[in-house]
């Protein structure tokens, strides 16, 4: 299938795709899979009981990537998809997901993704998910991902979730279970502007001995936008967990940041840091003494903060 310029731009924005990738991929457009390819080590199989796919990475697969972007271009469409990722034992792969919405009309366009990710024993997964929206100011763009992650014994996963432009409303729920010797790191980067709203709720259960979990959230709220961030770490065994949420607030924005630590074992070490603040005047002045104009200094601080 040939993609239009608009579709190509969306795919580039959410999955850095400028051509069809050589490995496994599934491209979903306006509620249907329009391009799909498995590789010898990564099977992509459509679900038979509901919309969505199973992505199955064979044990021992290393150095491969799978792209599963979703794009919506029709105004008023509500897309619901169920995806299951099974990352086989001792494999090491990159998953690039993400959703881009172009809504030129006045009706609401919405994508709800329900994901289950299982990282099998000894496997390593890097998961990148970007959200992006564009179009007319009248048509709302809504994205609601719900993800359950299981990190098995000795496995490692890093999930990077980014939303920097054009999504009016998002509610992201991520729940994770980390087993013995497993490790999970969740990195969130979020920018809201105008009247956008974003809610992110992360819950990591450190259920295995010597498991670890980390949540790093950086966000910028501009104009009259509203953000809410909740991060819960539950230490059920000897484990280490850390939550760090930093936010820059601008204009009339509102931010609510709620880290929560629950230790159900005397050997759980759980920590959190949370900070919300404006850009400090001395930071702007410092960059201006190096020759940047004020607007350039603000842009530099924000872009590096969210990098």
């Amino acid at each position: 299938m040939a993609f239009s310029k608009l579709e190509q731009d969306l795919l580039a924005a959410v999955a850095d795709l400028h051509a069809l990738p050589s490995g496994a991929f599934n491209i979903r457009k306006d509620g249907e899979a329009v391009e799909r390819q498995s590789s010898p080590n990564i099977d992509i199989v459509p679900k038979t009981d509901r919309p969505g796919i199973d992505i199955v990475v064979r044990p021992g697969t290393r150095g491969e990537a799978v792209h599963v972007p979703v794009i919506l271009t029709r105004s008023g469409l509500r897309d619901l998809v169920y995806n299951t990722f099974i990352i086989g034992e001792d494999s090491d792969v990159l998953v690039v997901a993400g959703c881009g919405i172009h809504n030129q009309g006045s009706a609401q366009s919405q994508h709800d993704g329900v994901h289950e990710i299982i990282v099998k024993q000894g496997a390593r997964l890097r998961y990148v998910e970007k959200h992006y929206g564009q179009g007319s100011p009248e048509g709302r763009r809504v994205l609601n991902p719900n993800t359950v992650v299981t990190v098995e014994q000795g496995a490692w996963a890093e999930m990077e979730m980014v939303q920097v432009k054009g999504v009016d409303d998002t509610t992201r729920n991520t729940t994770a279970y980390v087993y013995e010797g497993g490790s999970l790191k969740i990195i969130e980067r979020l920018l809201t502007h105008g009247t956008q709203q974003a809610v992110s709720a992360v819950e990591i259960h450190l259920v295995g001995r010597d498991s670890s979990g980390q949540v790093l959230s950086r966000s910028v709220a501009q104009d009259s936008s509203h953000q809410e961030f909740r991060a819960v770490l539950v230490g059920k065994e000897r484990s280490v967990g850390h939550v760090e949420c930093d936010s820059i607030i601008m204009g009339d924005a509102r931010i609510r940041s709620v880290p929560e630590l629950i230790a159900e074992s005397g050997e759980a070490v759980l920590t959190h840091e949370a900070a919300i603040g404006r850009i400090a005047g001395e930071q702007l002045i410092k960059l201006m003494t190096l020759g940047l104009g004020e607007a350039e200094a603000v842009e530099t601080i924000l872009s590096r903060f969210l990098r």
């Binding site: 001395e282 930071q283 410092k286 003494t289 190096l290 940047l292 530099t300 601080i301 590096r304």
Partner: protein, 250 residues
């Protein structure tokens, strides 16, 4: 040449009354010279530097660079005209790396020179280039990175505000050597070090003493330094016996 003509600076006090931080300061600083500005805490040294950089706007007087009145220029415009200032307490940034700030300081800086400037201030580039200018760095490390930025900028007027503060003794020697080598006798520009350090002061060409918002004395370092040193010793002794100390000749 950098010139300050009758510069005064007032801040509003909490009770609405003005606080006079600088009072009619006149200075002429020449290219090719390394100047030290010293004096008691709260005497106006940093305020003077910030007036030159454009961070503070003087309540009266003029700042001139090579005869051009730059009093009305913004901070960014002055930076682009060739004035550089290393902060006494540089701010920290989350997400901005050492390599980022060096590139902002000098956009055309290549990797070889960037590494060289970091080595000049006693930092191993491999350990620092990708590190955030955030809370993970010590005060001394931040100060050294601040100095490295100014070395990279190669500006016409370079002002270091207490570069030695928070820096270990070994690195102070290194910083002094690099600053002296770089700026003393260099006709491309001039440099000013705000300092209390006994190694920096005699190493400069001239020492300017500022106290209570005015220039109390200025002269060649070989003449000023012995007087200052004796004054400091005298005041320390006076404090010990509980009397006021005063030195003639400055």
């Amino acid at each position: 040449m950098l010139e300050l003509r009758n510069v005064s600076l007032n801040f509003n006090g909490g009770d609405g009354a003005g606080i006079e931080v600088l009072r009619g300061v006149n200075l002429q600083l020449e290219r090719g010279k390394l100047y030290a500005i010293t004096g008691p805490n709260g005497g106006g040294k940093t305020s003077l530097a910030k007036v030159v950089m454009g961070i503070y706007t003087p309540s009266q007087g003029q700042v001139l660079l090579d005869g051009e009145d730059i009093t009305g220029l913004s901070i960014s415009e002055r930076a682009r005209r060739g004035i550089a200032y290393a902060f006494q307490h540089p701010p920290r940034f989350k997400g901005l790396t050492v390599a980022d700030i060096m590139k902002i300081a000098r956009p055309d800086l290549d990797s070889v020179h960037m590494r060289g400037y970091l080595r000049d201030v006693g930092l191993c580039p491999e350990d620092y280039l990708e590190r955030d200018l955030g809370p993970g760095l010590s005060g001394g490390e931040i100060k050294r990175i601040e100095v490295a930025q100014l070395l990279a900028r190669d500006a016409e007027v370079t002002i270091f505000d207490e570069p030695e503060a928070g820096v270990d003794l070994w690195t102070i020697q290194k910083l002094l050597a690099i600053i002296v080598k770089r700026y003393k006798g260099n006709r491309q520009g001039l440099a000013v070090i705000i300092t209390h350090n006994e190694q920096f002061l005699p190493a400069c060409d001239e020492i300017i003493l500022i106290d209570e918002g005015t220039v109390q004395g200025q002269g060649p370092a070989q003449m000023m330094w012995p007087l200052l040193r004796d004054d400091i010793v005298c005041k320390q002794r006076a404090q010990c016996v509980g009397i006021g100390g005063r030195i003639d000749g400055i």
